[in-house]
């Protein structure tokens, strides 16, 4: 870490475009650029289909084969676009991790939770062993105790009865518990960046709040940066202090949460802010519709 100059951001996305299907098809992500420095937490907000997941998967290098990615994604100065699977795999799950939207299907149904969590350790054992040398403990210190570390991380994300959870199969856990397991897996190797793609959308509201709180605590504990995808401003504001707004594949607005909430510049953001404040509409008055926010605008809406 010490060999990376202070000025180089953790993640620098520049001119990134993602196109599904034929090369000529209309891109899902269009020429976006942003940087993310160590420890920063950015929300990425936008309506369904605006390209949020495509952006996340492009950064993780997890887009399916045959999807065209253009532009640059630099990780601590090194280019990730076009990086080979081997090098990328050393990064994924270690320095850069991800939590997905649907916890019900995100774990292998045929393997116990504990073994799946332990894989996160095992996969990055070689790098860990190097660390061990640096910290003056034998590698066996890190290789061994896998069970304790698995139980430890499950406890850290607030799961009860960790022994039983570790020995359970995914179908024996609730959605919220599964998502906490996945968050634990994402935090286990003390990553520098955690990408969360709508991690609470599939959970019911009471569980949502708990999971967000535990995610927030977990991110703070390891000091990881976070790119938090959502289409809900309220959810983003619980984890992030800064936010980018995506609309039809472009980032149309960015800034601190207060700034964006206080003076939304783009019509889509204005709509978003207004719908978030829908409870404030006096009874009897008509609720705002999306057309209201486009009044007087003709740019921005492109096909």
């Amino acid at each position: 870490m010490s060999d990376v100059p202070e000025a180089v951001p953790l993640l620098a996305v520049d001119g990134l475009s993602v196109t599904f299907g034929r090369a000529g098809a209309s891109p899902a992500v269009r020429d976006i650029a942003f940087t993310l420095s160590s420890g920063e937490r950015w929300g990425l907000i936008g309506e369904s289909g605006s390209g949020k997941s495509a952006t996340a998967l492009a950064i993780m290098g997890l887009l399916p084969e045959g999807v065209h990615v253009h532009g640059s994604v630099r990780w601590r100065g090194g280019e990730l676009v076009g990086l080979g699977d081997a090098a990328y795999s050393r990064l994924r799950g270690d320095a850069m991790t991800m939590v997905f939207q649907e916890p019900m299907t995100a774990l292998d149904p045929t393997m116990t939770v504990g073994r799946q969590v332990a894989e996160v350790l095992r996969l990055h054992y070689v790098r860990r062993a190097a660390d061990a040398q640096r910290y003056g403990v034998g590698p066996e210190r890190i290789r061994g105790h896998a069970r304790e570390r698995v139980l430890g991380v499950l406890a850290e994300v607030g799961l009860p009865d960790v022994e039983r959870i570790a020995d359970s199969f995914p179908h024996q856990l609730s959605g919220g518990q599964r998502q906490l397991v996945l968050i634990g897996m994402a935090l286990m190797n003390s990553p520098l960046l955690v990408i969360c793609d709508e991690p609470t959308t599939a959970l019911d509201v009471t569980v949502q709040a708990t999971v967000l709180r535990l995610l927030d605590a977990g991110l703070s504990a390891v000091g990881a940066a976070c790119l938090f995808i959502s289409h809900d401003l309220a959810v983003v504001s619980q984890v992030c202090s800064q936010v980018m707004v995506m609309y039809q594949g472009r980032i149309v607005e960015r800034g601190s949460l207060a700034q964006v909430l206080g003076a939304p510049a783009h019509p889509y953001t204005r709509g978003l802010v207004a719908t978030a404040a829908i409870d404030a509409v006096p009874p009897g008055e008509r609720l705002p519709v999306i057309g209201d926010f486009w009044a007087g605008e003709d740019g921005g809406r492109d096909g």
Binding site: M60, L62, E65, G66, D85, A86, S89, R90, L91, R92, G93, D94, T97, M98, F100, E102, T105, A106, L107, D108, P109, T110, M111, T112, E119, V120, L123, H124, P160, D161, R164, I165, S168, F169, H171, Q172, L173, S174, Q177, L182, M185
Partner: protein, 321 residues
Amino acid sequence: MRLSRLLLGRLAAFVVSLLVASLAVFLLLNLLPGDVTAVILGNNATPAAVAHLRSAMGLDDPVLLRYVHWLAGVAHGNLGASAFTGEPVAGLIVPKLAVTISLVGGGMVLAMVLALPAGLFAALHRRQASGQMVLATSQLGMAVPAFLAGIVLVVVFAARLRWLPAGNYVPLTSDPLDWFRHLILPWVSLALVQGAVLVRYVRGAFLDVMDQDYMRTARSIGWRRRRAVWRHGLRNAALQIVTVLGLQLATLFVGAVVIENVFVLPGLGSLLLRSVNGRDLPLVQAIVLVLVALILMINLLVDVAYLVIDPRLRTGRAVVE
């Protein structure tokens, strides 16, 4: 324990199915017009002779009583006697069964050895020419009739090159090496056709699994593409593949008759065809019963495989509180 209880349940279901199936087989064959006495005595037999034989064979008893008698015999290993030779049917069937099981068992093992890696390869390379080639080859293999594959193999490897015998069966117990040599060509021709079918299902199963969310999770924690498939795809794909294997095995016990004919192997399918042609009712009945039992046994094995592979089936849904 839960697993053993589930296994017992499957076993009980197997026994019940076997009983129901045996009744169905018995009723079907015994209520059809035309009875065994005509076969034995010929069409010109006097009514008196027919009546005498009928009562001697117990054919005048109510059909359910006859079923119970038959079943009691079966339980003691007595499957009845051939209408022609009077030989015990069991003695006729067992050696043929050994031939068919040797043929089908070995052939399917070979088919799996060919098809599992090929199907996995085709799935991993679905977008490359190499993967498409595997698919096209399997298409070709499916188009070739089994008997043609057999004949070509005989012509090349037996008639011209003289490397292997063209047919006939040598029991395993009399000479294992010869048994093996005689079965190589039949195995290969069976495996080519069945393997071609299997490749497509294996490819489909792995493609399906590779699209699952847990595969993306596996990649996101640092598994490389192939290793992820190996580690998290294999068991999940096996669930689908086991189903297909079960179906293939079940159809092959009779379906292998085509290959039995090409290679002059005296198997169960050949015996069944002969006994049906000769209207040897007790023999037909016994063979069908054996086949039904085999198929139910395969289903049982498939069920047990599911239980072993899929924890969702063997553990409760109880959520940890």
